[in-house]
């Protein structure tokens, strides 16, 4: 059964010509971890703030567990929220910060003390209850903010780019910690981020947004491998996108510059010979050594550049007017092609996506 539902939600700010969020529809199951992914200004934070009650929709409805909360004030929603800037109260200790929500609700002191201790154990900061926020590192502050949001036993947890202000290593460890805590508590969670790696690694489902509208909703694997729109394809992961023409739709033949390539014929259903399409392929789906009959597509070009990215070496291959990105997984014996040399690359038809 749907736990959180956003139905036809729109938000138009005063004096704005275009809506910040337009016709947003989403159903979230209890215990699900959903990420809103998109570039700055795509409406993801505005949507989150409408769920929190800090903004009210211009149209549409928001329900939690069947109850309409569209017009309910934020302090009456029982929704925990974690902010990008931590938003810990500087005048309070860690323990007081965590217990603040319970104190506001008039919870007995002994119960607050017990709950604060539980939360400190949960975030592994048992010894730091008496410290002030300025005495903590950024990662510790964000863990306290998470504990504070969870202490009130919220029905929903919202996280607004909580890791953006942290350095890369802490970001990775803390995001794993957030996911582990979410699984442990089984709390329904919405996570806003512009970092695709975060969204893909954390979420049960990802909502990709652009210019106020949902581009695609799906599991991370689905969004990455089967993008429905050119925007999703270009925003999630690195992608080669080329203009091509349909040559023989029944056999899945496309004309790509001077070469002919094969794609799954099902991708070309409804298209006719001569139609213009965009064909996309992930750099890691292209190989510089043929793996056999599967790699039926072949492109030959000149190596423009080779960038070593750690896990992969990214080769920029000039093929006619196009630059094809090819990722080769790193290994100590990898033969990196020289810049200026001629190189042939191969890819299977399954690796090609035809975008609408």
């Amino acid at each position: 059964m749907t736990f959180l539902a956003l139905t036809n939600v729109c938000k138009v700010f005063p004096n704005a010509t275009t809506p910040a969020v337009d016709n947003f529809n989403l159903k979230v199951e209890r215990g699900e971890f959903i990420s809103f992914l998109g570039p700055s200004g795509c409406g993801k934070t505005t949507t989150l703030r409408m769920v929190a009650g800090f903004e009210f929709p211009t149209a549409g409805a928001i329900t939690i567990d069947g109850k309409d909360i569209t017009g309910v004030r934020p302090n009456q929603r029982n929704i925990g929220m974690v902010f990008q800037s931590y938003a810990l109260f500087p005048n309070m200790t860690v323990a007081d910060n965590i217990g603040f929500g319970l104190k506001v609700k008039g919870t007995p002191k002994a119960e607050i003390k017990q709950r604060v201790a539980e939360m400190l154990t949960l975030i592994k900061l048992e010894q730091l209850g008496g410290r002030y926020p300025y005495q903590l590192s950024g990662g510790q502050q964000q863990r306290v903010a998470l504990a504070r949001a969870l202490a009130i036993r919220p029905q929903l947890l919202l996280l607004d780019e909580p890791l953006s202000a942290l350095d890369a290593k802490i970001r990775v460890s803390l995001r794993n910690e957030i996911r582990a805590i979410q699984r442990q508590l089984g709390i329904t969670t919405i996570y806003v981020t512009h970092d695709q790696e975060e969204a893909l690694s954390l979420s049960d489902r990802v909502v990709v947004m652009n210019a106020g509208v949902i581009e695609q909703i799906g599991a991370p694997f689905e969004v990455y491998n089967f993008p429905k729109t050119a925007f999703v394809a270009s925003f999630v992961g690195t992608l080669n996108i080329f203009d091509a023409r349909v040559d023989d739709p029944a056999r899945g033949v496309l004309r790509l510059a001077d070469a002919t390539i094969l794609v799954e014929p099902t991708h070309l259903s409804g298209l006719r010979a001569g139609d213009a399409v965009k064909v996309a392929m992930r750099p890691e789906m292209i190989h510089i050594e043929s793996t056999g009959a599967v790699d039926e597509n072949v492109l030959t070009g000149v190596v423009e550049n080779v960038a070593f990215l750690g896990a992969v070496a990214r080769i920029h291959l000039r093929v006619g007017e196009m630059t094809v990105l090819v990722d080769e997984f790193n290994n100590p014996h990898l033969a990196v092609p020289a810049v200026g040399s001629t190189l042939t690359c191969y890819f299977a038809r399954e690796g090609c996506i035809v975008l609408s």
Binding site: A52, G53, F54, R73, P74, N75, Q76, R77, N78, I79, G80, M81, F83, S85, Y86, A87, L88, F89, P90, N91, F100, G101, V104, K105, Y132, P133, Y134, Q135, L136, S137, G138, G139, Q140, Q141, A145, R148, A149, I152
Partner: protein, 271 residues
């Protein structure tokens, strides 16, 4: 910085310091010369022995305290709301709060006397009796006038304090935890504005203690007119009182500095 530029900076500093210190030093030396041919504190003894000193100082302190309370009640919610919900109105509010800098106190007090010296009416309907007829109502007008006079200092201090913290996010964090607006203001915003409010309060205190024009024209027994009277009749005592007033101001600034140093820690951010 080159050595020459460093010397020049020091020269400017020394000239500036002398400009402020020499008159003060002169006044201090003068205050010690009440008894001809010797230096002593008899002017101070005489000044403190005068019961009017304590009476006017205490009355001014009371008016200053009331002014601070009224200012805080008026300015804090206004500045909070401007920062949180009406940032577009910031310019208008700042302009209004700066008006006391461009309207001389003499103009302000004449406006007050003309408005509140007679019954206040609206379309011929009497709203208030003349407020300058009794001591109590005149004191109320005095506090109101000083509240206006202290607007620039109190608003600036409060606004700076609010800008130093992320008011909007802190307020939203508290709301998401179940707090209403009163709780947000009382438990989250005000405790973090402590230093800023103290700065504004002490500046207001200093202004009210030394103010002459409004107090004199409203004929209230304030410290400013008392000091002016001493200057006219007892030059040495007046010099002594000036030094005392300076000392009180320094003490106030010292308190601000002490508190600011103790709280000179980042509001957010990591180690």
């Amino acid at each position: 910085m080159s050595q020459r530029a460093g010397w020049f900076a020091w020269l400017i500093f020394v000239i500036g310091a002398l400009y402020f210190i020499l008159p003060l030093f002169g006044t201090f030396v003068f205050s010690l010369q009440k008894v001809r041919g010797s230096l002593g504190f008899s002017a101070y003894e005489a000044a403190f022995a005068n019961p009017d000193f304590l009476r006017t100082f205490l009355f001014s302190s009371l008016i200053a305290a009331l002014t601070i309370i009224v200012s805080l009640a008026l300015i804090v919610p206004t500045a909070f709301w401007v920062n949180l919900r009406m940032p577009r109105w910031r310019g208008v509010v700042e302009f209004i709060t700066l008006l006391p800098f461009v309207i001389p106190a003499i103009v302000l007090v004449f406006g007050v006397i003309r408005t509140y010296g007679k019954p206040l009416t609206l379309f011929g309907i009497p709203l208030l009796p003349p407020l300058l007829n009794t001591e109590l109502s005149t004191n109320i007008v005095l506090v109101a006038a000083y509240t206006v006079l202290s607007l620039p200092y109190m608003y600036r201090a409060t606004d700076n304090g609010l800008r130093a913290m992320d008011v909007r996010t802190l307020a939203e964090a508290a709301q998401s935890l179940g707090a209403n607006w009163f709780t947000v203001l009382a438990r989250v915003i005000l405790p973090n504005l402590r230093t800023a409010l103290l700065s504004g309060a002490l500046l207001t205190f200093a202004i009210v203690i030394g103010e002459y024009t409004i107090a004199a024209f409203l004929a209230r027994p304030m410290f400013g007119p008392y000091l002016q009277l001493q200057v006219r009749n007892r030059a040495y005592e007046a010099a002594a009182l000036t030094i005392v007033a300076f000392a009180l101001t320094w003490v106030a600034m010292g308190i601000i500095d002490l508190i600011t140093r103790q709280r000179a820690t980042p509001l957010t951010g990591g180690r």
